[in-house]
Point group: C2
Chain length 153, copies 2
């Protein structure tokens, strides 16, 4: 029997973050595909994850998602066509439109958030509640500047 040396190679952090995101995202995708909202993809998160309850402007969504207005606009158009949101003129600014979830959109958002929290809970069961709590704590610290204030509700 060979007495193998433990080689304590540090896995590159970038790979860990990538793999963890990927694991979470693919699980999320899989579960959403089993619901009535199977046409929702991860990409749509730039809207669902950043929109205010009363609606938001495109510019606002783009800033929060760290994407261009055009990119978020494309996603919004797709969600609009599928009945998840509507664009209504902003009464306080003739150029602007308020992007606002429809009832169906709010249902999809709630369901998505439910699944996301469910996966986190399962991670806690599987890998340890402390560990996942620490994961959340660290991620929140590390992304605090980037994500700004916690969106209302």
């Amino acid at each position: 029997m060979s007495t193998e040396l433990e080689i304590p190679t540090r896995r590159p952090m970038i790979g860990l973050l990538d793999a963890a995101f990927d694991a979470f995202a693919s699980e999320l995708e899989r579960r959403v595909a089993d619901t009535a909202f199977r046409d929702i993809r991860i990409t749509h998160g730039c809207v669902f994850g950043n929109i205010e309850p009363d609606g938001s402007r495109l510019t606002e969504l783009a800033q929060r998602a760290r994407m261009t207005k055009q990119s978020v606009g494309e996603v919004a158009t797709e969600l609009e066509q599928r009945g998840y949101l509507e664009r209504v003129p902003d009464p306080s600014d003739g150029r602007a439109k308020i992007i606002r979830l429809t009832e169906r959109g709010r249902e999809a958002q709630a369901l998505g958030r439910g699944i996301i929290d469910e996966i986190e809970r399962e991670w806690a069961e599987r890998y340890g509640a402390d560990r996942v709590a620490a994961l959340r704590d660290a991620l929140e610290a590390v992304t605090a500047e980037r994500l700004g204030a916690v969106p209302v509700a």
Copy 2:
């Protein structure tokens, strides 16, 4: 002075993971761009991050990166053209080729890993060593199955 209620809204885990990866990746890109290897991008990590010291087969790299052979093959071809790796026939299998870093490739790999570890150290300074250690621990636990054994060196 208004006594604002703390609204304990949980940020969706998927967004935290995404933002953290993005923060790390963009910092990495920025720093690599300031080196002699400025043509290396994040995408190239599927090779640099998974290749064995003595070289690996394309199929092997693809499995570890959880990508198709075609995708990794494209990346490999680009790296080959830029002098970071070479494909040599596998003496033990006439179909296979061994993908192997050149000297320049090894330099780029070492430099990249140095920067990656540097960023992690800076995160530790900025956000707390415990926190970042816990982050690493949790990410390793969560991605253990997915990433398999730690690659040698």
